[in-house]
Symmetry: T
Subunit: 144 residues, 12 copies
Amino acid sequence: MQVLVINGPNLNLLGERKPEIYGSLTLNEINKYVEDYFKNTKISFFQSNHEGEIIDKIHSASQKFVGIVLNAGAFTHYSYAIRDAIEAISIPVVEVHLSNVAKRENFRQESVIAPVCGGSISGFGKYGYVLAIRAIVHRNSSRG
Amino acid sequence: MQVLVINGPNLNLLGERKPEIYGSLTLNEINKYVEDYFKNTKISFFQSNHEGEIIDKIHSASQKFVGIVLNAGAFTHYSYAIRDAIEAISIPVVEVHLSNVAKRENFRQESVIAPVCGGSISGFGKYGYVLAIRAIVHRNSSRG
Amino acid sequence: MQVLVINGPNLNLLGERKPEIYGSLTLNEINKYVEDYFKNTKISFFQSNHEGEIIDKIHSASQKFVGIVLNAGAFTHYSYAIRDAIEAISIPVVEVHLSNVAKRENFRQESVIAPVCGGSISGFGKYGYVLAIRAIVHRNSSRG
Amino acid sequence: MQVLVINGPNLNLLGERKPEIYGSLTLNEINKYVEDYFKNTKISFFQSNHEGEIIDKIHSASQKFVGIVLNAGAFTHYSYAIRDAIEAISIPVVEVHLSNVAKRENFRQESVIAPVCGGSISGFGKYGYVLAIRAIVHRNSSRG
Amino acid sequence: MQVLVINGPNLNLLGERKPEIYGSLTLNEINKYVEDYFKNTKISFFQSNHEGEIIDKIHSASQKFVGIVLNAGAFTHYSYAIRDAIEAISIPVVEVHLSNVAKRENFRQESVIAPVCGGSISGFGKYGYVLAIRAIVHRNSSRG
Amino acid sequence: MQVLVINGPNLNLLGERKPEIYGSLTLNEINKYVEDYFKNTKISFFQSNHEGEIIDKIHSASQKFVGIVLNAGAFTHYSYAIRDAIEAISIPVVEVHLSNVAKRENFRQESVIAPVCGGSISGFGKYGYVLAIRAIVHRNSSRG
Amino acid sequence: MQVLVINGPNLNLLGERKPEIYGSLTLNEINKYVEDYFKNTKISFFQSNHEGEIIDKIHSASQKFVGIVLNAGAFTHYSYAIRDAIEAISIPVVEVHLSNVAKRENFRQESVIAPVCGGSISGFGKYGYVLAIRAIVHRNSSRG
Amino acid sequence: MQVLVINGPNLNLLGERKPEIYGSLTLNEINKYVEDYFKNTKISFFQSNHEGEIIDKIHSASQKFVGIVLNAGAFTHYSYAIRDAIEAISIPVVEVHLSNVAKRENFRQESVIAPVCGGSISGFGKYGYVLAIRAIVHRNSSRG
Amino acid sequence: MQVLVINGPNLNLLGERKPEIYGSLTLNEINKYVEDYFKNTKISFFQSNHEGEIIDKIHSASQKFVGIVLNAGAFTHYSYAIRDAIEAISIPVVEVHLSNVAKRENFRQESVIAPVCGGSISGFGKYGYVLAIRAIVHRNSSRG
Amino acid sequence: MQVLVINGPNLNLLGERKPEIYGSLTLNEINKYVEDYFKNTKISFFQSNHEGEIIDKIHSASQKFVGIVLNAGAFTHYSYAIRDAIEAISIPVVEVHLSNVAKRENFRQESVIAPVCGGSISGFGKYGYVLAIRAIVHRNSSRG
Amino acid sequence: MQVLVINGPNLNLLGERKPEIYGSLTLNEINKYVEDYFKNTKISFFQSNHEGEIIDKIHSASQKFVGIVLNAGAFTHYSYAIRDAIEAISIPVVEVHLSNVAKRENFRQESVIAPVCGGSISGFGKYGYVLAIRAIVHRNSSRG
Amino acid sequence: MQVLVINGPNLNLLGERKPEIYGSLTLNEINKYVEDYFKNTKISFFQSNHEGEIIDKIHSASQKFVGIVLNAGAFTHYSYAIRDAIEAISIPVVEVHLSNVAKRENFRQESVIAPVCGGSISGFGKYGYVLAIRAIVHRNSSRG
């Protein structure tokens, strides 16, 4: 059972950018932290600042993975193209945000991808990725 | 370590109301399901259709519990009084919704309590309560 | 055949409050007036200023009554919790307003419960309750 | 005592158009059904797809009828000219809709004529016309 | 030199409708009053409750008249078809309203025809027609 | 196989009105141009400035034609009555505009009839009618 | 009988500013033109770029003049203080604009003073002042 | 002479909740502080987190008190039911807020009860209750 | 201890303007009434219809007065320049309105200066100035 | 004569994604279908999920093609960068959508590229590409 | 070559007001700083809290100066009268703001004068005046 | 000291695209023009039509440059991802636009990146780049 974790624009700067909001770990450290939580689930990580690459990745994920954890960064708020990509595939996508976006700027209050995701988790920092993977694993097990 | 789970208006009808959205288990069955997941955490359950009772409960929870899991039902969308109650206490509150509210009616798109919650989880059905309790337990452990 | 008539907040003040809009009869006098119209239909009356009590009443009405006539007063305009309660039960609810709300303040122009009611009647004063009960009786007869 | 029932645009297609919403009876069948309900009240029926003809009819109704039942169809939502016509005459006009418009498209949520009508009834199908005529007859009797 | 005065829907009821706003003269009396003001200008009058007839009239006016005075009544607020008709002809159209529409209901605050008229006059009662005709005559003289 | 082309208000002025936008051909010349394109398809033409006549025409077209090409002119932007008429019949209606309305005034940006049409074509001048008829013929052939 | 004509900000630049909209006459030339129209009416002229001076002038006008013609320039769109001044006095104020403001920028579409003026005239250039004075004289005569 | 002071939801937590905004006194201490200010006026205090109880209290206050000082807490922003209760009684209600709500979150900018209150006082901390009672006493004296 | 009372545009007309709203006393009479209330506090009064003069006055008040009571009249609703002036000085400013502005026109519902004032009082007529001065005196005493 | 057909994000998934809306043919099959329609026109096809690649393609198309048919997918609704690219070149661009977007989600109702396209065609499925190419060919012929 | 620098309301308080935003220099010190930058350009400075004086100054500047640098302070956000003044003269006006207004309150996000200025500079503190004067000098030189 | 100038989508077409707005120089010519202005500052230039490449460039610029001049083209209006990139780095970014965007289409009125830039300059054509670099150099010098 494999799960794909996609991180969107500027998440490669984790640890440098606004540590009071996003914490002081780098993306690699967070990925390591998440990986260590799961023994029976293989997790692949992908990060890109390019909307098109994220769309391509979502398209190709359908065969290989049982689900996608997606932190789309700022694309969350305007990329209807990513939304369409999520809607076009058949495996579940879980939306994750490190911070509680409801506490932040107005433009972060709207997620254009949430309506096509299976569920949404925000505000739990790096532990949010763990919860999201659990949700996918759980769903897969209940069905299997 | 104790966690309080509060369910708001109409959640006492679970199992009868819109099973295609909310599932066919009753609230008691869901509570049992959630309880069984946790060995070392004691979980208390409270349900009310009265906004005032939920506020009173939140006020009194502060001393006894390490966190609250709150599915405020329709109060999510207009009860600024519950929002103020959450903001007034010092233990974390995690917002949970059974369904992915982003897929539903317009009025369900706005949560007036989300900005004062520690985090938010929606779309995972009864398993969402499990995830929310885990998040509280995890946070409590990291701090202890 | 029994019908339940629920009156919401401040309707207990009928006869005192704004008689130029709501008329000079008390709620009891109106209930009596309505009761006298129907010989074969038993009518129960309930009034409360508490949103939670109205929700509880709607939940419990389902077994005993063939339909509910609901004048939700000011709750009409913001109680999504009552809306969910109506949507959760299987007997029809008819919305009634004494005055023609379309002629009044802006905030009275939106009914958050109308979309889940079977029908809506406004502007006919106390006679509106009679019409609403007739509609429920008629519907019940056509089906029986 | 005579009452005029005016049906607006596209209601001549009743029975053909969206039977799941409007029912399977033709307008003539509905008119017959309504007529049969009343022994002591003479009812005249008028239908037009032309806004101007409806305005002319409303103007001329003032002398002959004690009230008008108006299902203005789609004109409900934009014909301020019909609104002005209703406001200009002295007999009461009762707004009727077959379906519960609150459940339908956004544009059907606003009635520009409701604020100048005596009352409004929606969601009861053909029986709504019966209720509306009753309301006019009742009002006329209380005054006479 | 001929000027055409067009009155739109419900203006045939002048004298009956809301005399506190529109005055107590009938449309014929107003037309007579206006006619008497002008010796050298022939004035034609037209009234209709039908949007289509007003459009037809505007189209045909172009050859015969030097200008049109238009009180479009409620069509002022939504008839983009009349707007297009005005824009399509080459003689000037002056918008007139009996009352000061800025003092009245919200929906009367927007004129969809004003942007294509030569000018606009409101609030002067029947004398407004006199001013509007003067404006057309004056414009015609300055050019001639 | 017959197709009906309906032109709405002010299109009878084609050739005179704003030739820089609508071109210099008259409506008759355009109709002739369109007719010449099709050998095996009989095309009927109808123009009216009266909303009611267009509705009547749409109603009656259902039996005789395989589809309707509709340039509703300014009615496009507010005639919910025409919208309902289109929705009520079973043959396809294709919306056509001579100009690219997206380039013009704000009020022309919304088509209230587009959601009930089979398709929409704008910006190709008189050739747009040819494309629209082709679309209807094509659809009819694919089904036949 | 005396009438006061008040011109607001930037109207002292008439003749220089945007002659394609406002014409090529200076304010003095326009005043002279207006004055020449009236034999029996004395007209006083006042111009200021200072909102406070216009308010002071309106206050003091009440005793001396039978009415005010006011072209408030850009103050038309935001000076609620001038609006209150107009509302506070008892002589009629007629709003005048040289251009047809309905054809211009969005911000010029709202007049905050129109609801408290007796009437409004726009789009007739300098002749608009003549019409406005006529309206005041006419009103004064009808009352006298 | 008796005055009733009603405090709404979460005000029972004063002293604990956001002391930088609401100060460090408990509600009892504030009540004592207020009471001490007045020798000849008896003051009753009531607090509830239940909207329905506040409505009931307002209804019953009418006979016993000369006025009500109301800090409705978060209900200020959405309880049209409390608004109707205030409007239904004949003694004056003065709205009080501890903080200057104009400086705070957007949702606190609208008071749905202000339009039916006699007056409003905000931003003066506990002293605001003193000012509000003074206003009621003063009003009562001027009338007596 | 000195307090400055500033009255904005049109308040010099008090007693004449809308006495049903503002009362029948002149501004001088109100000032006298206010002055008589305070023995140990010297009160200076300033009125202007000029926004710039009010700004200048606010700037210079800082050295001489312990606080400002400001009834900014219509400037309340749009003068961001006065807002900036209030924000720029260090003594407290209390906003006062004679009438309950929440009951009046829409444009009076927004105060652009409230967010930078220390507090706000409205609806108590001339007694509102007394309350406002008390609030300033009280604040000054608590600090001194 | 060459025409370029550009398909935007997610259109590479045609045949898999929402076949009830987009049909069951793959993009290659549609391209083949379109190609077969035209004998004298060479058609090039390009698809990308990357906004930047589409912009680059549009820039370079100007020399080689007589026109572009563009189905920009979800970019239609927010890519002002593609809009600017279209506006910057001199060959015509025709906007195509497979489905009738007016029937779908709100966010699909606005096309930010439509105002700079030559024309727009939607709702005809794969045949829409044929119509769009015809429009370009026709336009090119009329000019040649 | 002379340039005029106009500073609007409250800028006379520079150095005192919000030094964390506007810096600690007084307006005179800033003017001196700016003056010292330019050897061949004579710079005049003007400050006023009166909108009318700023308009008068703009009108008279046209003959003497080659351009105006304008920091209109809060007038930036509502003075359409200053906007009209800028539009009425022929020399270029450059808008300057000390702070980056895009980071501040909502009401500071709209500049009603920007659309009629030659250019806009914000966020560079006192150095912004230097840049603005350079832009005017540069423009003048390129033309000369 | 090095400064990076980034130009966004479609700016590679400068000289061809809308020369009446953007001028007739190519991007290379503008870059040369800018470079020639500065002797002691090395300037690097980067242009891309790909949002992701611009984000990558901003990320990597942090080590090498003292500041970035950014003309984000159409990305200015919707790329929250670029906004986050700017916010994530520590060197200042100055926003530049060739044209005065305040004069252009509505969608160009909002800059989503302005709130995180150090300052903003628009309307000065190619000279705007010179001013922006000066601002960065000046800031760097004041700090050094």
